[in-house]
Amino acid sequence: MIGQQSGGARGVLPTPLLVARAGLRVAASGELLHHSWVSLQRALVGLLIGGGIGFLLGLINGYFTLAERLIDTPVQMVRNIPHLALIPLVILWFGLGEQSKIFLVALGVLFPIYVNTFHGVRTVDPGLLEMGRLYGLSPAALFLNIVLPGALPSILVGLRFALGLMWLSLIVAETIAADAGIGYLAMNAREFMQTDVIILSIILYALLGKLADVAARLLERRWLGWDPRRLRAAGAEVPS
């Protein structure tokens, strides 16, 4: 099963053993690390830019009703365009360089983070805000002590959605036009009918995706440790 090739399907689906061998080969040549690193960098830079913009817009629009009236509608209009439909335009704008990939990733992660940050800020318990004002907190202190931590669970939900879209955008962008990265590795392998390398690329994406998910979970554990549901899960006795 693991090492036997069944019939003449060699070009369709390689055995796990062949994939593992391809992995070793690509790792030994240094390509594995190189392409993974390039992809990871693009993903993180895109996440930082797009996530940062989405986060700031979400905060501003959640906090100021006037800003929401002015900004939310155009943002929602852009949000409803499938961002991957912009690929031809993006290639014309930025060429085949790094910018086009980073732009697509940034665009993909912007909206889930925007929507969830906005929602998180809007759903902060008004009773807590009232209490904070009565207890003399300045607007800045209200924001840091009540609005931001209150919105954080929702923001982290947005982050997890964004991480999924981050890899999706990157895969598509790298598959269409790239000279490095995991997507390039896969497309290059297609030229030479190396299905084992293609499968290896898919597994790499899966592993990087899992890595991002683990990172998000760690952040949640660190920042949301106060949540009664988490406290209960951790074995604390929590009155319901």
């Binding site: 009565l134 207890y135 002590n145 106060w226 009664p228 406290l231 929590v238 009155p239």
Partner: protein, 257 residues
């Protein structure tokens, strides 16, 4: 407890012809209310009688349509305890209690003492999420009192607690009030609670002060004595409209002397 003892005293509270409209509906109409420094006043009434709006106005959370609220003398800020404790779930107890303090005092002995005084010694680093309803209100009391308020507003603080916890908390509130000398305004629908705690019980009916009864029972007050029950019956009678006094509105709720 030194942490809660107040160098100054409670404020003198004076409310004059307070009127508040929400749209066309008058929630408060011409309310007069006075409290001496350090006096404990309870405001009782049915749901929707305007007592919460009155309290929110005293706290500065709501602006009256007409009338004046004056706070004179005393030291310390206005603090409020809400029916839901309104603790920040993402802050440990020490940081919840220190919330209204100046930055440099936010993690000092005062907070440790304040928590100890409400019966939560050593719980500084707990999350609010692990507390029972009664414990939450204890923290809310510590948070209010650590700033040594001149006026403490209590908005049905025990309304969501079970009967036994409520009795314990009433005792605690009375002790803290006796120790520190703030002026207190308690809004409640529980007439027993009002009579147990207050120097004076004021009834509010459809936005008007109905009756103003001074409670002259010695403290701490034993429940279910004949004298206690007589005062309760008196207040209830006025609230339910069986006894005269509620019609002569608006009665000035000021107490001579």
């Amino acid at each position: 407890m030194a942490a809660l003892r107040q160098s100054g005293q409670g404020v003198r509270l004076s409310v004059r012809s307070l009127t508040r409209f929400f749209g066309a509906r008058a929630v408060l109409s011409g309310v007069n209310l006075e409290a001496r420094p350090g006096e404990f006043v309870a405001v009782v009434g049915k749901s929707g009688c305007g007592k919460t709006t009155l309290l929110r106005t005293l706290a500065g959370l709501d602006n009256p349509t007409e009338g004046v609220v004056a706070l004179d003398g005393g030291t310390g800020p206005v603090r409020m305890v809400f029916q839901d404790a309104r603790l920040l779930p993402w802050k440990r107890l020490v940081d919840n209690v220190g919330l209204g303090l100046p930055r440099q005092q936010r993690r000092g002995q005062r907070i440790v003492d304040a928590l100890a005084r409400v019966g939560l010694a050593g719980r500084e680093l707990d999350w609010p999420g692990v507390l029972s309803g009664g414990e939450r209100q204890r923290v809310a009391l510590a948070r209010a009192l650590v700033s040594q308020p001149g006026l403490l507003l209590l908005d049905e603080p025990l309304g969501a607690l079970d009967a036994l916890t409520r009795l314990e908390m009433q005792q605690l509130i009375e002790e803290l009030w006796a120790e520190t000398g703030f002026t207190a305004v308690l809004v409640t629908h529980d007439v027993h609670e009002a009579v147990a705690l207050a120097d004076r019980v004021v009834s509010l009916d459809a936005g008007r002060v109905g009756v103003n009864i001074e409670v002259r029972l010695p403290r701490p007050r034993a429940r279910h004595t004949a004298a206690f029950n007589a005062v309760v019956a008196d207040v209830l009678g006025h609230l339910l409209g069986h006894l005269p006094g509620h019609r002569a509105s608006p009665i000035d709720a000021r107490v001579a002397g």
